[in-house]
């Protein structure tokens, strides 16, 4: 029995709207092992951020957990009180935001902010430790930066500081919400390298939320593809990237590859993903799927296991072997 760091079972989350509720996450299962780097890939609005933040219960008060459990080191998180949760946040599970410049406290010096994190979790308030952490995320002039304010630093530096803030307590899991989307390409690599390095050295698991293929390619061990509030496909990164099973994943890889090929047309996928208000009990991708069957619009496909991968598509039922070869 493998000891999972995070185990999410059947998580469903709704948000309260003016006229009723809308279910945004419709039942996901996710397991993360210690030291693993898992990436959640998906377009905007597919529920990937909500799923990730739900681990730390970071979303609005208007979010309702309809059903499902989240286990962290075997302990169920949904039962925890707010104060117990506060002990975990930043300490055992860290979360870093997309836009570091706004997520850092604008009116506090960097040193003070990081000191505040240490203080919060009753760790020794050592300036040394902060400087070391800053250097480990690639800040060269740690002493100077210690006394500066976020608005005096560049976006890239702030991003690194954000990561430093996340790792300073030595968490078991780092949830990174699109950490490189607001950063230039050159820096992207640096940051990803840094994360890889930290993972290698400390064994810290990373849950990466992204819509960028290349990030997934570069850093993740496993990848989870989400669409319409559900997981469409899951598996080891190399396999999923080279041999996508789900029609959606396939389309995505085509889109990505077509940029690099020197063909005249860019592969596009017509239509748009459904908004949560439009969710129905059918395969969410069906309206855009070229391999659509009649059953796709009648019921929600179940998750199928194919070797060590998972896929939610009717095509992987027994009756459609021939179609699969067309993929």
């Amino acid at each position: 029995m493998v000891d999972y760091l995070i185990e999410i079972n059947g998580l469903k989350i709704s948000f309260k709207q003016k006229n009723g509720f809308v279910q945004v996450v419709r039942g996901i299962d996710l397991k993360i092992k210690r030291g693993e780097i898992v990436g959640i890939l998906g377009e905007s609005g597919c529920g990937k951020t909500v799923s990730a933040t739900s681990i730390l219960r970071l979303e609005d008060e208007s979010a309702i957990y309809d059903s499902g459990q989240i286990f962290f080191k075997g302990k169920e998180l949904t039962d925890l009180s707010e104060s117990e949760y506060q002990k975990i946040r930043g300490n055992q599970i860290a979360y870093i935001f997309q836009n570091a410049s706004t997520a850092l406290i604008p009116h506090k010096k960097i040193g003070k902010q990081l000191m505040g994190v240490l203080k919060r979790h009753d760790l020794p308030r050592s300036k040394e430790k902060i400087l070391v952490t800053l250097e480990s995320v690639g800040i060269t002039e740690a002493e100077t930066v210690y006394e500066m304010y976020p608005f005096q630093l560049s976006g890239g530096q702030n991003q690194r500081i954000m990561i430093a803030q996340g790792i300073i307590c030595g968490p078991d899991l780092l949830i990174a919400d699109e950490p490189t989307s607001s950063v230039d390409v050159a820096l992207r690599k640096v940051i990803l390298d840094m994360l890889k390095e930290i993972n290698r050295k400390t064994g810290m698991a990373i849950l990466m939320i992204t819509h960028d293929f290349e990030v997934i390619n570069y850093i993740c061990d496993r990848v989870v593809v989400m669409y319409g509030g559900l997981i469409m496909e899951e598996g080891p990164m190399a396999e999923v990237m080279s041999n996508p099973l789900h029609p959606y994943t396939k389309a995505l890889t085509y889109c990505a590859q077509s940029i690099y090929q020197n063909g005249s047309d860019l592969f596009t996928l017509s239509g748009a993903p459904p908004t949560p208000a439009e969710f129905k009990l059918e395969c969410p991708f069906a309206p855009r799927c070229s391999f659509k069957r009649s059953t796709c619009m009648l019921e929600m496909p179940m998750m199928m296991e194919v070797d060590d991968r998972k896929v939610r598509c009717v095509l992987y039922r027994e009756e459609y072997p021939d179609v699969r070869s067309d993929l």
């Binding site: 506060q86 975990i88 946040r89 930043g90 300490n91 860290a94 935001f97 706004t102």
Partner: protein, 730 residues
């Protein structure tokens, strides 16, 4: 070319001036704000003119006066402290309530949120002014003393106004919480409390500070409006004229304060507009000052960001200032006992000890800067002709079986006698109708026993005369009223023909009565007193050019028989010194050390009031402390009956002393007084009546009772007296 922040500049100037006035009113005011002067004599071009208050602005009254003759300018200067402090306190407490509640509500506590919103709706629907008027007009609040009055005002006005702030804070907090970095703080596991303190407050602070000053301005406006309705701190709520069946309130405040000026001057708007306009102007300028300052801060705050530290430092410094302002008033009022070496063991009138002590007092006065009132010096002697000292007294009751020897000054005391030695039976005349003595010969050769309590002094004197003239009685025995100690050392002598009058206590009387045929032997020897009675009188001149002529008189005794009395004398000397040491002796203080305070008829006050060396008109009050006879005692004897409200100075001093006595929990026994001829009279203490009835000077009497009990120390009285005198002088 930097553009100046005009609002900040102007506002700061105004606030600075206000602060200076609050701290050092003496520098600005030219008169005492308390001087009530209804009439005034003006000498102009050789013509004598009488003016009636309110006075127009002129060189004495810079801004004129109100209808009681109080100088508007000085009143405003002294009133700054109270009024501005009120405004600050109200704003402060509103914030203390609104900010935490706003934070809690903004963080999501719905209960609090609803409370804030409902309160706000309530108090905006019904005007704060109206609510304040209704609440503060209740009887509960009328005539409260300074501390409680201020507290009630602050509490009521805070409760009425906080919700406005609360809603504002609520909205702001909500807004701040939507900022992205808040999520970051939550993600690292910060609790709501730390987020509130470390993140939300620093964002709120600049705005709150600005709002604070605006709120002070608003509170001052509210106070001004309330003042017009005669709702102000320390409204005495007096009724000036109820003869028409409708009480007309005399709304005066005992403390200078701006709002009160508006109420008392409402009626004067057409006749004496200066009395209304200038206080209103004061309000206007202050409100403007605070608003400008707040506005200036806001303009400045846009450019800078207040860090947490400077915010807290600024706020703390500000409130420390307010605290200091109020602590400024704290003074030390301890009196203590003077160190006087080689005091005689006892000081009694007409003896060498009294003469020596009188000289000592005169010297002490001289060193303290007290001037004599008479050209001849401090000591004013008076005749003691009809008085003698008892050198020997004894009384014994002989029955068939035994002889009971009675103790002088415990069982009996001679009131009046010559040298005698008599033995006779006792005639019990207690049940006789003494007004019409049918058979005076029954008294012949006997001592007549009379119950004192049924008769006045006057009646008794007339009985005794009748007995003297119409019978051959051997003497009169007066049974005293209670079981109190009776003591007397001097007696009134006659010309050899008078019969002895002896006072006895109840127990002794009982012995006499129960032994029917007992025989009483009485002996006494007297000696005339060597010296005259010596009163020592001196005046400490007052500092104020306008009211320095007015004086308060402090009457002290210097006769004593034992150590306890000697301590009282030491205390008296120190009290005199302490009063001289008070910083604000605007009026003069006349110290009167009276001789013969231990006797009835030789009490120095009688001689003194026959020809008091100072104009009675200028005597504001007589503080009679000759009743202090022991250094430790059980009860305080007090009376302010002879300080009626029409004599404002004396009345307010009496009020203050009484309040303090009550507050300090000391047991008070009020002197019994008879209301006659429109004033009060003390039937049992002739000496206490002297100043009031002979000279028309309102008197406050204090004395010690229950010498066996040692609960109270005369020192405590010293504190109370000093504080009252000082406060009353302001």
């Amino acid at each position: 070319m930097k553009k100046y922040n005009m609002p900040l500049l102007l506002g700061s100037v105004v606030l600075l001036i206000l602060l200076l006035i609050m701290l050092f009113p003496d520098l600005f005011a030219n008169q005492s704000p308390y001087n009530i002067q209804h009439l005034r004599f003006v000498h102009e071009n050789g013509v004598l003119d009488i003016q009636r208050a309110p006075f127009k602005p002129d060189e004495d009254y810079w801004l004129g006066s109100d209808h009681l003759g109080r100088d508007i300018y000085s009143y405003m200067i002294y009133g700054t402290r109270l009024t501005i402090t009120l405004g600050l306190l109200i704003a402060l407490f509103e914030f203390i309530i609104a900010v935490p509640l706003g934070l809690i509500g903004g963080f999501g506590n719905n209960v609090v949120k609803i409370v804030i919103e409902k309160c706000n709706t309530l108090f905006s629907a019904i005007p704060a002014l109206l609510i304040a008027i209704i609440v503060l007009n209740l009887d509960f609040f009328a005539g409260q003393d300074k501390f409680y009055s201020i507290a009630s005002f602050v509490v009521v006005l805070t409760l009425v106004g906080w919700a406005r702030m609360g809603v504002l804070v609520l909205e702001r907090v909500k807004g701040i919480l939507t900022m992205p970095f808040i999520k970051g703080e939550v993600a690292i596991g910060k609790s709501n409390v730390s987020i509130a303190i470390e993140n939300v407050l620093p964002h709120l602070a600049p705005e709150l500070i600005v709002l604070f000053f605006m709120e002070v301005a608003r509170s001052l406006t509210l106070l001004m409006q309330l003042g017009i309705f005669a709702i102000f701190v320390g409204n005495l709520g007096l009724i000036s004229d109820a003869s028409a069946g409708v009480p007309i309130n005399l709304d005066i405040s005992f403390e200078p304060e701006w709002a009160s000026m508006l109420s008392t001057s409402r009626a004067l708007l057409t006749t004496a507009p200066w009395a209304v306009l200038y206080p209103a102007l004061a309000f206007f300028i202050s409100v403007l000052g605070f608003n400008l300052f707040g506005e200036g801060l806001r303009l400045r705050g846009r450019e800078r960001f207040f860090s947490q530290k400077t915010t807290i430092k600024g706020l703390l410094g500000f409130f420390a200032l307010i605290l200091i302002l109020n602590l400024f008033n704290h003074k030390d009022y301890s009196v203590g006992y003077a160190e006087i070496p080689s005091l005689p063991q006892s000081v009694f009138i007409g003896t060498e000890s009294s003469q020596k002590t009188a000289h000592f007092i005169a010297e002490r006065m001289h060193t303290l800067g007290i001037m004599p009132l008479e050209d001849s010096g401090y000591i004013i002697p008076y005749d003691l002709d009809q008085t003698a000292m008892l050198t020997h007294q004894s009384m014994a009751l002989s029955t068939k079986n035994q002889t009971i020897i009675l103790e002088p000054n415990i069982d009996f005391a001679f009131l009046s006698t010559d040298d005698i030695s008599e033995t006779a039976q006792i005639y019990d005349a207690r049940k006789l109708d003494l007004f019409t003595m049918h058979a005076p010969h029954e008294f012949d050769q006997k001592f007549v026993l009379i119950e004192k309590k049924y008769y006045s002094e006057h009646a008794l004197a007339s009985f005794i005369k009748k007995i003297e003239t119409n019978s051959a009685a051997k003497g009169v025995l007066l049974v005293s009223e209670s079981d109190t100690q009776i003591a007397n050392l001097t007696v009134q002598t006659g010309d050899g023909n008078r019969i002895p009058i002896i006072e006895i206590n109840q127990k002794t009387a009982e012995k006499f009565i129960s032994n029917e045929n007992a025989v009483l032997t009485v002996e006494a020897k007297t000696e005339s007193l060597q010296y005259d009675g010596f009163n020592v009188v001196g005046i400490l001149p007052g500092s104020d050019p306008y009211i320095g002529e007015e004086a308060i008189v402090v009457g002290l005794g210097y006769n004593y028989l034992n150590q306890s009395g000697e301590d009282v004398f030491k205390f008296n000397i120190n009290l005199m010194e302490a009063i001289c040491g008070l910083s604000e002796n605007r009026r003069s203080v006349i110290f009167v050390f009276l001789d013969g305070t231990l006797t009835k008829w030789q009490h120095g006050i009688h001689a003194l009031t026959e020809d008091f060396p100072y104009s009675s008109q200028d005597l504001q009050v007589y503080l009679d402390l000759t009743g202090l006879k022991q250094a430790s005692f059980g009860k305080i004897e007090f009376s302010a009956d002879q300080a009626p409200i029409t004599r404002q100075f004396a009345w307010s001093l009496a009020r203050q002393v009484e309040d303090q006595l009550v507050k300090s929990g000391l047991e008070i026994s009020y002197l019994s007084a008879i209301f006659t001829d429109g004033s009060y009279f003390f039937p049992e203490h002739q000496a206490y009546n002297a100043m009031f009835w002979n000279r028309g000077v309102p008197s406050i009497i204090m004395g010690t009772l229950d010498p066996e009990d040692t609960a109270i120390d005369v020192e405590m009285l010293g504190r109370i007296l000093l504080k009252s005198i000082s406060d009353n002088n302001y």
